[in-house]
Symmetry: D2
Subunit: 148 residues, 4 copies
């Protein structure tokens, strides 16, 4: 079966994959992708993963809530360059309280370019973390993350 | 016939169309897309239009040449918001000497969000404009732009 | 007399000047500043000009209003490069209804790198232009712009 | 004594401090700074720290070398907002082989907004790490980092 709208990537067993092009804007004068722009690729992957799970930023915002990154560990392994097509791979690793732990990779063909561990928190209008609603936890499989 | 690789958009009669998602990164605290980010959408459209015409930034770079924007006129008509899907429409309007004139629009469904007239120049290693090679002019249809 | 807080630049006769550094993030793989980033330099100049005139984005936002760019004409004349210090020069040209017209230049020493004509509009919560309050017009000198 | 050019920040005991304004461009539709933009603030701090130590990106580039981030751990503690002035604090923690370890913080007044541990590597034209030249190690105090 074909994806109805590949612009949002596709669900995989335990996660999500999104193909992205490296345009001019993502590069810097070293000729490679500027390190902070990889985080934008990661965020596009997370957003589309949530989207395909039925969680929309705009709807959350109407209730004053949004997801905020609270912690990242990133290993920059190999650089990407202009015109490259990369795959942003997102894997759910667990959810506790207000927090979701994801592992993410950026790949070019078989090469890992970047690996990241990312913790995002659901925050309320005052910027404080709020408990994930049960429906949202269920969407991720309601697995408790033993490591957090 | 289906596009072999829709990530690069598709050629249209006289131009090119590219669908793009509005992610977090493109918005600002007004809740809408930050004005300068629309230019990145436009550049993605131009890059993929050139790509489907067979012109690659990376190959050009090996000969010390690249395209640089030399002039833009932009009317910001309606704002785009997070989660929107927009269409970047690029239309060739003419080529003379070192310069290519394009008209570009960003649309959401039937609405024009932005209209732009863009002049790009091929520049050499010293940053000076260099004449478009005949092969490249032919690719665009070798139409002379009467307005420039 | 010295500026109390040079981070916001300084008022000039009829406008404002802001010195800015070109960091890695503003460059692209051509080795020069990515064209859309110049707009961010321009916006920093406009924001600090408004700031020194007593107009704050955050305070406007509490009343549901913000400034939005409605039209730009930009001539990219010479490129800036990593490590450069550039001067963003902003000049008030007139205000009518909801709109303010500014001329902006980015200079490196005596060289003009970019010239722009920018129209910004005050918009309300629904994104529609709202009339500039008399106090704000007075701040700019209440000059009517004959050209708009 | 006053800093001759405060645009590059100032050296501190064991590091560097750079004041930066939060402009429109750094925010996202949540109303706060977009997480990936904090990395740009960090990079401006590192660049100006190196600059005041006498190490210039452009000069390095003439020998085909540049600094690349190889690893980051980032804790996002409190958000910054439009119009804020933040302080980017960079502290040298050690250098071994091709790698420099830095600790960085972004503060607003007395509050820590973000803490990061950053490893940057000097890379050659092929993207491979190259040993730091002795002169560069001397500049940092030639302290060996016991933790790496």
């Amino acid at each position: 079966m074909q994806d109805p709208d590949p612009i949002a990537g596709r669900m995989t067993d335990g996660g999500h994959q999104l193909r992205q092009r490296v345009y001019f804007e993502a590069t810097d004068f070293s000729g490679r992708v500027y390190h902070a722009r990889y985080l934008q690729f990661l965020e596009r992957g997370r957003s589309d993963y949530l989207r395909l799970l039925g969680i929309r930023h705009r709807e959350l915002a109407t209730t004053g809530r949004s997801f905020a990154v609270s912690r990242m560990e990133i290993a920059f392994l190999k650089p990407a360059s202009i015109d490259d097509i990369v795959m942003v791979c997102t894997e759910f690793r667990g959810a506790t309280g207000a927090r979701i732990t994801l592992h993410q990779r950026i790949m070019r063909d078989e090469d890992d370019l970047l690996k990241a561990s990312v913790i995002v928190a659901l925050v309320g209008p005052n910027g404080r973390a709020v408990r994930l609603p049960p429906g949202m936890r269920a969407v991720f499989g309601a697995k408790e993350d033993p490591s957090t």
